[in-house]
Subunit: 252 residues, 2 copies
């Protein structure tokens, strides 16, 4: 039962973009989560000075942008798509090449999740890399929150669930205003189990073989490192931009 008490805001999690219509409303902030690796890569791009990130659903759209000279990352099934220079490794979204640029990205799961939630009240990008900034901002906004896990091809996955649990844990510690949906309650427990060593925890998961095969150890360790940036990417129309600091903060 997730109907909130009248005086409570809600914090809930949705484990699959496919399930989003069940959780959809027009007054929640939706946090898109694709820890390995789309949302980690997007946070990284902005931290390294990217001006905009355009998430696109299909490889065809990505190719169209590439033919117009854009910097484009394209990943399917964990690997770089033929014809593109890089995929969704955060290390591809660093350095001079992204500075001041518009970067286009398409991935198996994360860009799909952004796509399904695009009409939400507000859509932001979450990862361990910006977790504290994200949670502090969410507290200021004082709205219902939906944590949308991108999963793996619309199925539940452990790393996105773990991050949703980490956000739940952090928000619980910051505020008692939120009523937690059952999914968040479960994930909070899960995160508490994994907190000491999330890498080891995920390494026991069914992803182990996939991750080892793709030689992603360095990427995974980076994607699980909290607070590498204060950037909160937010969707404006079809484009992600850096959340502008509030006026009060600017004037300080």
């Amino acid at each position: 039962m997730t109907e909130p008490k009248p005086d409570k805001l809600t914090l809930d999690a949705c484990f699959s973009p496919y399930l989003y219509p069940i959780y959809e409303d027009n007054h929640s902030i939706v946090v898109i989560i694709d820890i390995l690796r789309a949302t980690s890569a997007i946070c990284t791009a902005f931290e390294h000075g990217a001006e905009k990130v355009i998430p696109v659903a299909t490889v065809e759209e990505a190719m169209e942008y590439k033919s117009h000279g854009y910097l484009v990352g394209a990943e399917r099934n964990g690997e770089v798509v033929d014809g593109f220079d890089f995929g969704n490794s955060p290390f591809s979204y660093m350095g001079e090449k992204v500075k001041g640029q518009t970067v286009v990205i398409t991935t198996t799961n994360g860009t799909h999740a952004i796509q399904v939630a695009r009409h939400a009240y507000k859509v932001v990008i979450g990862s361990f890399l910006n977790i504290d900034a994200l949670c502090n901002w969410l507290m200021e906004e004082n709205k219902n929150i939906l944590l949308l896990c991108s999963g793996w091809k619309n199925k539940f996955n452990l790393e996105d669930a773990l991050f949703a649990g980490a956000v739940t844990e952090k928000i619980s510690s910051l505020s008692e205003t939120y009523q937690h949906g059952d999914a968040c309650l479960a994930l909070k427990y899960l995160y508490q189990l994994a907190e000491q060593d999330p890498y080891k925890f995920l390494n026991h998961s069914s992803h182990k073989e996939r991750l080892a095969r793709l030689n992603l150890k360095k990427d995974i360790k980076y994607c699980l490192t909290p607070n590498q940036t204060d950037v909160i990417p937010v969707l404006h129309g079809t484009t992600l931009v850096k959340m502008e600091p509030k006026f009060s903060e600017v004037s300080e």
Copy 2:
């Protein structure tokens, strides 16, 4: 990543009937889970001698059966639907009145889950009440297993997830044949946390208010009691019947 190794069977969990198309295949046994209270009530009816249970999706269908003299339970939002004698409390499915009868049932979540999975290779009913019998039978079948949680109005709920975790834990202890999907890995951890006192665990959940309001304490304690029956209800066409013992067991 849930593609199994070639030599492994899969054990996975789906948290919502709405998400079932993503997990659907034509070679898995689907275990329907609605702990509070449809699948607990169905197991109870068979244990108390019911001949058949007909799960129907709508109150209208249930009313049609009632007008033809059937014994019919109808629940929506945790309460008995007007015009019916009982809802989904397992205690309504006991005693002489069900013995030898065909019982018709419609509920908010559980009968919907049966409905969406009805074309699966095999559909069976799971609850704490028949957990050991169910798991032992699953081991004999040696097929892929999908644990389909009915949830609450297509959202994740804690009690169904907990049972899916309990089944995962039990199957892990019985066999190393199964490769666990990420959902089952997460739920197994969750169950280990709750195992000592599942009632207390659920009592910390967002369901607390709903359950207290409906005065369901006795029902919940019963629904969380393992191994009250060896019955495994199985779907034949549109009707649930008792799984027949295998020939080898009959002849013993």
